[in-house]
Amino acid sequence: MLVLDGLTRYYGSFLALDHLSLTIHDGELHGFVGPNGAGKTTTMRILATLLKPTEGTATLDGVDVAGRPREIRRLMGYMPDFFGVYDRLKSWEYLDFYARCYGFGPKERRRMTDSLLELVNLSDKRDSYVDVLSRGMKQRLCLARALIHDPRLLILDEPASGMDPRARAEMKGILRTLKDMGKTVLISSHILPELSEMCDSLTIIDHGRLVFSGSVEELGRHMSGNAPIQVRLAAGAEAGAVEAAVMLIRQYPGVTGVGREEGNVLTVDFDGGEDATADLLRQLAAGAPLVDFHRPPLNLEKVFMEVTQGE
């Protein structure tokens, strides 16, 4: 279990991370979302033992990240947002080099290099020089490098940035495999929809402060509770029937506003719970020519903008 407790980091007088506290459970695929400059990379670099916090602690299974970095490095694999590769080096040699850095012997290195290249779908590029690989391939190779010592926690800083849709889909597939392998994955992005599709839980930060932390469903409930309900009445319905439906809705407790759009579509601002929503639907269905009644799916881009806007 990864626990961040009051993590704070200054760069000079600039406060990059402001008392960030959150918990990530074992085996979770946890998304870390925030606009550029929100403090995602700073948090990840602290967890990767590359930075020390000004205040606060981060512990992985009770081991202090800042206090016992060597121990943490054996438990954690890190993929930075920007990274370079060496020239005059083949893919398998690249992985072999990092495996040597972790002290593995020649037989183990050969075995793990082959299996990791297979995991990231690069077996056919085993003998290709690293510097001529495409960006997506380099990113997958870097992910394989982060996995070389079979870490329990993976810290991936914007692993899909700059990838084309196909490469993104491949990366998602690999991440699902890693989750199935029981790894805890902390993955950052500044694009919420990208993460919400595959993550179990999410943390949204802005200006170094925690804005939201919880499961994707919780975020959905939290935000969609305020989303207006769309009601469509039959196109041929008489004006009187529509007016009656509007009156019925307006008078229902919890309804704060009703808007009328073209084609007999009503938008209802309603902050009642699920039972109240069901009751409203029942009453409408009984007294109005109802065709459709639904809350539109959560627009995650909009949610992200809303959540980070007020901070």
Binding site: G12, P53, T54, Y78, P80, F82, F83, Y86
Partner: protein, 301 residues
């Protein structure tokens, strides 16, 4: 050697087309010098005593040439070793492994040292010509090689420390050269006393009975100057410069009067070795992640 950084960097260096080219050029340069000063002279049927002396001089020139090349090449070789990783954005990937900063900088140092040692080893056949013609013993040739290797190691560790301290390779390279040349100049500052002594001599001529100002100590900084180490090596082995040095500087002559050439050389070599260890340790220490201080007036939790 079980240092992955060393093994990895060595593979990459040896794969570069530049490496065999450099080794060939280095060997050719020394071979040309050796031909004109030693071998060419002995192709004639008659060999004079002057020719014998020339072979010893040829050996000295080869040592000097190598010293100059090593001092010029070494700082640049390591100045990019860590800053280059930083610029290539590969340093973080190394720092999060199990390697540790000590092994990282040591691997970088030894890889560059290995290449320079290869160059010095390539010069051994040319240096050893002096063993055929006479003038220096096998042991003396080995001392020269040891001195050259230690000089290379010290210059490499200056570059390594600068590479660790400065973000950009260009800055690290400039600072490495400045540091090497500053060491050469600053350690020679006691020569200023020679200028003062000349002034005292003039005073003594003008004022009868005025005692002449004498320097009666050995400036320690001289033993830290690799250039003087080279002069001592050649003076001890071939008597080259031994007379010149006495005439050139009173304070140097004074130094060598207290500390014979070979002893001076060993002090110099000990300094080069110690400096290499210290600078490499500092380079590793600089890569350690430090806890930042909270700015004044910041709220505490």
């Amino acid at each position: 050697m079980n240092n992955p950084i060393f093994a990895f960097s060595a593979i990459r260096r040896m794969r570069s087309a530049r490496t065999p080219l450099l080794v060939t050029l280095y060997s050719l340069l020394l071979a040309t010098l050796a031909y004109f000063t030693v071998y060419g002279r002995f192709m004639d049927a008659t060999v004079t005593l002057g020719d014998m002396r020339l072979s010893v001089d040829g050996y000295a020139y080869m040592v000097m040439l190598q010293f100059g090349m090593l001092v010029l090449v070494a700082p640049a070789m390591t100045a990019g070793s860590i800053s280059g990783e930083r610029e290539r954005q590969t340093l973080d990937l190394l720092l999060v492994t199990d390697t540790g900063t000590g092994r990282l900088v040591l691997g970088k140092l030894l890889e560059s040292f290995g290449f320079l040692a290869l160059l010095v080893m390539c010069s051994l056949p040319m240096l050893s010509l002096v063993l055929i013609t006479g003038g220096a013993t096998f042991g003396q040739v080995m001392v020269s090689v040891a001195f050259l290797l230690l000089t290379a190691l010290a210059a490499l560790s200056v570059g390594l420390l600068c590479s660790s301290l400065f973000q950009r390779t260009v800055t690290a390279t400039v600072m490495s050269y400045l540091s090497v040349f500053a060491l050469g100049i600053v350690t020679l500052l006691p020569l200023w006393y020679d200028v003062k002594r000349i002034g005292d001599l003039y005073d003594a001529m003008n004022i009868v009975g005025q005692p002449l100002h004498m320097i009666e100590y050995t400036p320690l900084s001289f033993t830290l100057n690799p250039g003087l180490g080279l002069f001592s090596l050649l003076a001890a082995q071939t008597q080259m410069f031994s007379g010149t040095l006495w005439q050139f500087s009173y304070s140097l002559a004074n130094t060598y009067a207290y500390l014979p050439f070979d002893h001076f050389l060993y002090c110099n070599m000990a300094f080069l070795g110690a400096a290499s260890v210290l600078l490499t340790a500092l380079a590793a220490l600089n890569l350690h992640v430090r806890k930042p201080k909270a700015p004044k007036g910041s709220k505490r939790a």
